[in-house]
Symmetry: C2
Subunit: 245 residues, 2 copies
């Protein structure tokens, strides 16, 4: 049996939206992670408990499927479920439902435990995992590989700002979405919205670094590929599929 | 009699905080404006009603007095009151109370109505003002003038990003706080917090502009002065007083 589900209402505020009046991807990620933190807290394995083990949860990949973006002023239901895990990896799903109960955003993510000192992956601890009652499996879901798209290219450099850094002292994973989407042509952002996002984190970005965000956008297929790097190090890759608003 | 008061509970989330685990000034402004929008909505003069007049509310100045910053995970009470107004200007106050009822943040702001086409100030419309039941006065409060501080100087350039722009198609006033505070030395941000902020907006910043944010910080008095400009145009000025965390 897959793990426990947890849901909370969320009202989309004006500062979670962009010029088009819909919620930003970055803010959706923030809210989804908040809801999963709240579930962890409710199950007695919140951040304080995890911190004491010297480990920390890290997300390695997200895939998002979006039917439509939540509107500013809309009340949605945000949910999460720790689906299953093997020795090292956990599959955690998220969803956003509108008031009719229709799922408008579906997300699957892979969580791992990282040693906070060595920054290396650590075997999952039963005491941190069991409260979620997720299935123990041999093989966890394999999320789609990232691929390169050919098309119009563009890039931007971003200095990591003080307020981009979270309490773990690295760049919060929601910030990468801002660098990904800010680099896309404004005309695209105004007229299209992402229906699929697949983002994979390779290397954590640190304070004081200079980030290079490159995009290649194919006008015909409405697909784009994104690479975020620091110097010669590829830190993060993403694929996005777009649709007319 | 001063105008109607309005309060809402607010739980400070992890993404509203910074590395120190306290709420950012930018997010406090976002939440205070949200609460005043909610009051307006409750009084039947929400954004949709104002939009129909061809006018829009604009903030020209804020002063904030901060005893302590709200903590991530803390539930606070955020309140607002339209205190009084003359023919052109409104004084609106905000406060944040902790769970003991103690006011930890006090803010006074000046609102004006702007013609959305000409971007010029417009006489206050009785139908947009009366529901707040604020006092009609001859002279409105005069918030402190901005002054220059001498000391260590630093500056940063910021390209206006797509997601800095709000639904009014100019830079949201909370964003200026990020440019102000991001330019301050990291050691100051980690060890001190602002006890007083006085910010004054002169000229709206538009999409595609390049912003220059300069700070002068006096180590002895723990005061700083800030100027945000686009080319030769001074767009915004701020004074900040700091205290040890």
């Amino acid at each position: 049996m897959p793990g426990k589900k947890y849901e909370e209402k969320h009202l989309v505020t004006y500062y979670e939206g962009d010029q088009t009046g819909t919620m930003t991807i970055s803010m959706m990620i923030n809210v989804m992670i908040l809801i999963s933190d709240n579930q962890s807290q409710a199950l007695g394995v919140g951040p304080e408990v995890v911190d004491q083990t010297g480990l920390g949860w890290v997300i390695t990949q997200y895939t998002m499927n979006i039917t439509r973006l939540p509107q500013v002023g809309e009340e949605v239901l945000v949910g999460t479920q720790a689906v299953n895990n093997n020795d090292y990896f956990c599959q955690r799903d998220f969803w956003i439902k509108d008031q009719t109960g229709k799922v408008i955003v579906k997300t699957t993510s892979i969580f791992v435990l990282m040693d906070r000192t060595t920054r290396r992956m650590h075997k999952l601890l039963p005491e941190l995992i069991e409260p979620y009652e997720s299935d123990k499996v041999k093989r966890i879901i394999r999320l789609p590989k990232l691929s390169d798209v050919e098309g119009t290219e563009n890039s931007q450099d971003y200095a990591v700002r003080y307020f981009d850094i979270d309490t773990n002292h690295h760049v919060n994973n929601a910030k990468y979405f801002e660098w990904v989407f800010n680099t896309v042509d404004e005309e695209v952002l105004n007229n299209y919205f992402p229906t699929m996002v697949n983002i994979r984190y390779h290397v954590e970005i640190q304070p004081h670094q200079m980030v290079h965000s490159a995009v290649s956008f194919d006008q015909e297929t409405l697909k784009s590929s994104h690479k975020i790097s620091v110097g010669d190090t590829l830190c993060c890759e993403a694929n996005v599929e777009w649709s007319h608003r």
